[in-house]
């Protein structure tokens, strides 16, 4: 049900784009909506970050995953239990760039007996990494539609990505990898009973959406070839706030489908779980050092509480105290 709704949502975006492009709504899809989406994205992203940032971090609660710094001769694991800011940065870098926590993933199995066994389960890590890195690279590659001259970074990435000379125009390895990893991620949501159980529409939707983007992209490049010059004209035009006359460019319905899906993704981004992009950097169990006993963490708005006063306690138990023979005085 959740999956179906998401799929229908994505399909209807495609259909709307085709219909709209056919009905002369190019300006809406090519100019108005993209601008609106980008505006939504920027405002939404900033608002979300601000909202998070406004909630303070009252306590320093890192999840420690290894030996803390303690006695000199005990081997400290700085990446598991960072003690200094530098070590925190390293830990975060590994998290963000290489999904280190997922790398740790295991799968538990219950055998008869009962006996629980745990095996490494790196598939999620692997496909997650492939998906994200491919996405990043495709994103970078797309800058060729928006820059002139195309930065060396973009052409360099293109060269490496299309090193294997398959097809014409050359197939980009990341296009394939993105589709493969997406297929795996989607397949997992359907086939792994636990994951299916926890999945919601909001989990299927971005997967289908990006799958739609990637597949229309591949179609545009390799099958229903589009006029890239026209696209670049549009891209540069959008960037320079002087959109070209879209009617003359004659871009295909498929291109508008690609574009509308992208527009949807951009607009959807700040409202959704995709904001993990920003959140991963702010997670207090990861981005704080485990040096609580060495450096005091200050709660920006400490809560005053009522405590059991010593004097009151002394009064309450004065007989017992006398029996025990304590003197009990305050300085």
């Amino acid at each position: 049900m959740n999956a179906l709704v998401s799929l229908l949502a994505v399909l209807s975006i495609v259909v709307i784009a085709f219909l709209g492009a056919g009905a002369g709504l190019e300006v809406l899809f090519g100019v108005v909506l993209p601008y609106a989406a980008i505006l939504t994205f920027l405002v939404g992203f900033v608002l979300r970050i601000v909202k998070w940032a406004k909630s303070p971090v009252p306590f320093r609660i890192p999840t420690v995953a290894g030996q803390a710094k303690s006695l000199e001769w005990i081997k400290h694991q700085p990446l598991e239990s960072p003690y200094t800011r530098r070590q925190v940065v390293l830990r975060m870098a590994l998290e963000v760039l290489f999904f280190r926590s997922l790398f740790r993933n295991t799968k538990a199995e219950l055998k008869g007996g009962p006996r629980l066994v745990y095996g490494a389960d790196k598939a999620l890590w692997l496909f997650g990494m492939i998906f994200h890195w491919s996405f990043l690279i495709i994103f970078i590659r797309h800058l060729r539609f928006f820059t002139e001259p195309v930065p060396a970074l973009v052409t360099g990435v293109e060269w490496v990505d299309s090193f294997f000379d398959v097809g014409l125009p050359a197939l980009f390895a990341t296009s394939v990898l993105l589709l493969v990893s997406l297929s795996w991620l989607i397949g997992r949501r359907f086939l792994d009973p636990q994951v299916r159980y926890i999945s919601q529409a909001a989990d299927y939707f971005p997967l289908f959406l990006i799958f739609g983007i990637a597949s229309t992209g591949v179609l545009l490049r390799h099958f229903a070839k589009t006029d890239v010059a026209g696209v670049k004209e549009l891209g540069m035009g959008l960037l320079g706030f002087s959109p070209p006359n879209l009617g003359e460019l004659g871009l295909s319905g498929l291109f508008y489908a690609h574009l509308l899906l992208v527009t949807a993704l951009i607009a959807y981004f700040p409202l959704s779980k995709l904001m993990h992009l920003g959140g991963v950097f702010m997670s207090p169990t990861r981005n704080l050092a485990n040096n609580n006993r060495a450096v005091r963490h200050v709660n920006p708005n400490p809560q005053p509480v009522q405590v059991h006063e010593f004097e009151h306690w002394k009064e309450e138990f004065k007989e017992e105290i006398a029996e025990a023979g304590y003197k009990l005085e305050r300085d």
């Binding site: 740790r104 066994v117 095996g119 490494a120 790196k122 294997f164 000379d165 398959v166």
Partner: protein, 409 residues
């Protein structure tokens, strides 16, 4: 599992860094080759294949040799190879990877590598070599992965492993046979065009691979204390002895056929190998070294008393390995081109860049092997940590067995 390879002693890391250093240098050389073409190698129109393909040929043998431990262990339930089987499979993985890398660096247009898949041509033995090598790699990865992770969890490996193991045995034979066919089907090159080439390849493979495995096991024992057991080493020593003997026998057969038949085209190649042709004597000292080492190795190996002494066995294995490396990694391929079908005697020696790239690939293989062995050794050595634990463990197992017997009665 792989995270076990991410922690280790200083020695381990220095070794890895050295390997990575060599790989880096090799990579620079390879970039030069990519941008300038194969002109940076010593190859030319008369000797179009050289060092790279020769290394590939040699390593196919090393890869195939895993079967010599896998077969007795899985098929005949030969328990002594229990600790060695996975080491053999890992060696195969590293070797096949090196083979594939050597093929890639030998290609003029590596960017079109997928053409071999997109436009397959079953009449070409390269096609079959690609199929069999990749298949063998996949088989070994799957098998070692499944058995090893099951062992780590303390459960039985999944049922599909056994058929794969059985499949891997003929497959190992096939990778070498196909590689031999690559050469022996060429009318233009009489040196290779001999039916005995495939058996010869197999014999030398079953000598060189296990010899290397013995050396590695002895090294592992010294460096990490991981002991595969005397019995395993001994059995493997025997295998090396017989395989080496058969290999030398096959070489003699070839020399006889070529020289007794007196066909000049056949004879010239052997002449070139052992005596030099028209002043080209590059390989002569090598080949004699190889022959002498073979003889020494045979003496050491075929005398049970000498063979059973571990340090002598190590020397013998070293001799076998070097002898066969010279035979395959230098003599086998180059000699096929000298003299050429037109009767010319070209010169070939690998260029510096070629050697560096080759070294880098060997270093890459060593890196893969080190990492895989590190994982294996760490996982296997996790428990018991102390002597008492081993004793206690044995006691508990004995007790369990006794109870099982009692319950059975």
């Amino acid at each position: 599992m792989i995270e076990k390879a991410l922690t280790g002693s200083k020695r381990y890391w220095i070794w890895l860094l050295c390997l990575i250093g060599v790989i880096a240098v090799g990579k620079l050389c390879y970039f030069k080759q990519l941008s300038e073409g194969l002109t940076v190698t010593g190859l030319g129109r008369d000797v179009p294949w050289g060092f790279y393909i020769a290394q590939f040929t040699f390593l196919v043998g090393v890869a195939a040799s895993a079967v010599m431990v896998v077969l007795p262990y899985y098929l005949h339930n030969y328990k002594a190879f229990g600790k060695m089987a996975v080491l053999g499979e890992f060696l195969a993985i590293a070797s096949v990877t090196m083979c594939l890398l050597f093929i890639v660096v030998d290609m003029g247009r590596p960017d079109r590598i997928f053409n071999a898949v997109l436009h397959p041509s079953p009449s070409s033995l390269i096609f079959w070599d690609i199929v069999s090598l990749n298949g063998y790699l996949v088989l070994n990865v799957l098998i070692s992965h499944a058995t090893f992770s099951a062992e780590r969890k303390g459960i039985r490996p999944p049922g599909w492993v056994k058929p794969l193991v059985i499949l891997s045995i003929p497959w190992a034979v096939s990778i070498h046979t196909v590689t031999a066919f690559l050469y022996s089907g060429l009318a233009a090159r009489p040196f290779w065009m001999t039916a005995i080439l495939a058996p010869r390849f197999l014999a030398s493979a079953f000598a060189a691979g296990p010899a290397l495995l013995i050396l590695i096991c002895l090294l592992l024992k010294r460096l990490t204390g991981y002991d595969v057991g005397r019995q395993a080493i001994r059995t493997l020593g025997k295998i090396v002895a017989y395989a080496m003997a058969i290999n030398v026998f096959f070489i003699l057969l070839e020399v006889f056929t070529a020289s007794y038949s007196g066909i000049p085209e056949h004879m010239h190649h052997f002449e070139f190998l052992y005596f030099g042709l028209e002043g080209n004597t590059v390989l002569v000292p090598w080949m004699w070294t190889s022959s002498v080492l073979s003889v020494i190795a045979l003496v050491l190996l075929l005398t049970p008393k000498l063979r059973s002494r571990e340090n002598l066995l190590a020397w013998a294995c070293g001799a076998v390995f070097i002898a066969l490396w010279i035979d395959k990694g230098l003599g086998m391929v180059i000699t096929g081109f000298i003299p050429t079908p037109l009767g010319e005697v070209p010169h070939y020696s690998p260029s510096m860049i070629e050697v560096m790239i080759g070294l880098a690939i060997y270093a890459a293989g060593a890196l893969i092997l080190t990492v895989l062995y590190k994982v294996a050794v760490t996982v296997r050595k996790r428990e018991p940590e102390a002597e008492w634990a081993e004793r206690a463990h044995r006691m508990m197992v004995d007790q369990r067995e006794k109870e099982a017997v009692a319950a059975g009665d």
